[in-house]
Amino acid sequence: MEDYLKIAKNGLWDNNQALVALLGLCPLLAVTNNIVNAIGLGLATTFVLIASNTTVSIFRHHISKEVRIPIFVLLIAAFVTIVELLMQSYFYDLYLILGIFVPLIVTNCAILGRAEAFASKNSWDKSALDGLMMGLGFSLVLIILGAMRELVGGGTLFAQSSLLLGTLGESLSISVVDDYQGTLLAILPPGAFIGLGLIVAVKNFIDLKKP
């Protein structure tokens, strides 16, 4: 049991892929203009992480050391393609916005990193949990960053959530500040770097305060 708790804590906080390992920055910085994009990419990444971790773990005794990396990449690419196709058929509007960043999940080193560092050494249930927690940790950072940038950049929260939730989402969109002119810096790429830097700083601050 303790093992599982440790895995969860590792993924969400101690070894958070976005804040500690600083992996997967390309999609992280590119799509976090708003919360909805962040949730969409977060879910896709989490799904790929769980699937690739579980598969790698199940076959870990059969995959020889020499060809493990090509096999991992192959599996990850296959899962990402499947996610992309599913998204294209069930969440088409969201797919249009995330566009190129869905296939780019393949290049998220966090996924290959977990396959190599964790899944190839642990049982499938632990690996699946690790995938889930690492994915959630990554998604959480995406969402916080997305919320920050959307709020500062455009004064709204959950704008366009109908893309993800259909008509249900339309009522979710909140205009926090009325008549807000928007801050361009937050929406442009530099805003993503500044925002991520602030989140990393807050996390380090909290860690330092702990005994």
């Binding site: 060809v67 096999i71 192959l74 296959a78 196709l85 294209q88 058929s89 088409y92 928007g182 442009l188």
Partner: protein, 209 residues
């Protein structure tokens, strides 16, 4: 039996490749119809913003022309909107190469009375927050073109305000609005595009009438 390590690795790769290909192909087969359907729905929705009341299968009637437009040789896609087999408008899909960040794909609707039905941006790479106000979901700016024609406003006024014309530009982004205004004007100005009956000029020779 001892298998040579290299052979074993090769076999492993082969097995995993087959495994991956199988699942990807399977998913692709299962989602193919839905994806095509989504793409068509989006297109019909976009076309419907510019033209309504047509009774033909507008996606099926689409045809292509190779022509020089906006200074580049390009393949433009044309959707004829028909009622009772009579074309009453053309929706023209074309690329304007001189946006702030390269190509802007536009959909321009022109009635056979040579009046604009409207303009929509299909894809662009303009600056977020500045140039992207040409998107309908960001601003209503793009809507002002419906009803305009070559004579309204007159030739000298078919420009953004800072160039002496009548169209507003955005604060901090003049190039994008200028690009759209110019591209729209050129569509109207290319008489070929507005004279479907003039087969020589128009290169519409294979156009279904």
């Amino acid at each position: 039996m001892v298998i040579h390590p290299i052979l074993k690795s090769g076999l492993l790769l082969l097995i995993f490749t087959a495994f991956s290909v199988f699942f990807v192909t399977f998913t692709q087969e299962r989602t193919k119809v839905q994806i095509k359907h989504n793409e068509n729905q989006l297109l019909i929705k976009r076309l419907g913003e510019l033209v309504s009341g047509y009774d033909n299968d507008i996606l099926k009637d689409k045809f292509f022309r190779q022509t020089t437009l906006h200074g580049v040789r390009q393949k433009i896609g044309i959707y004829p909107a028909k009622k009772n087999n009579q074309v009453f408008a053309y929706l023209i899909e074309h690329t304007y190469p001189n946006g702030y960040n390269g190509n802007i794909r536009l959909l321009t609707g022109v009635g056979i009375d040579k009046k604009l039905l409207g303009v929509r941006v299909i894809t662009h790479k303009e600056t977020p927050g500045l140039g992207d106000k040409v998107e309908l979901r960001k601003s209503d700016w793009i809507k002002q073109f419906s009803g305009l024609s070559l004579l309204n406003p007159n030739k000298n006024n078919w420009k953004v305000r800072s160039d002496g014309g009548v169209f507003d530009a955005f604060t901090g982004a003049t190039i994008t609005p200028r690009a759209i205004v110019t591209a729209t004007y050129q569509i109207l100005h290319k008489p070929c595009l507005l004279k479907p009956e003039d087969k020589v000029c128009l290169e519409y020779d294979n156009a279904p009438q």
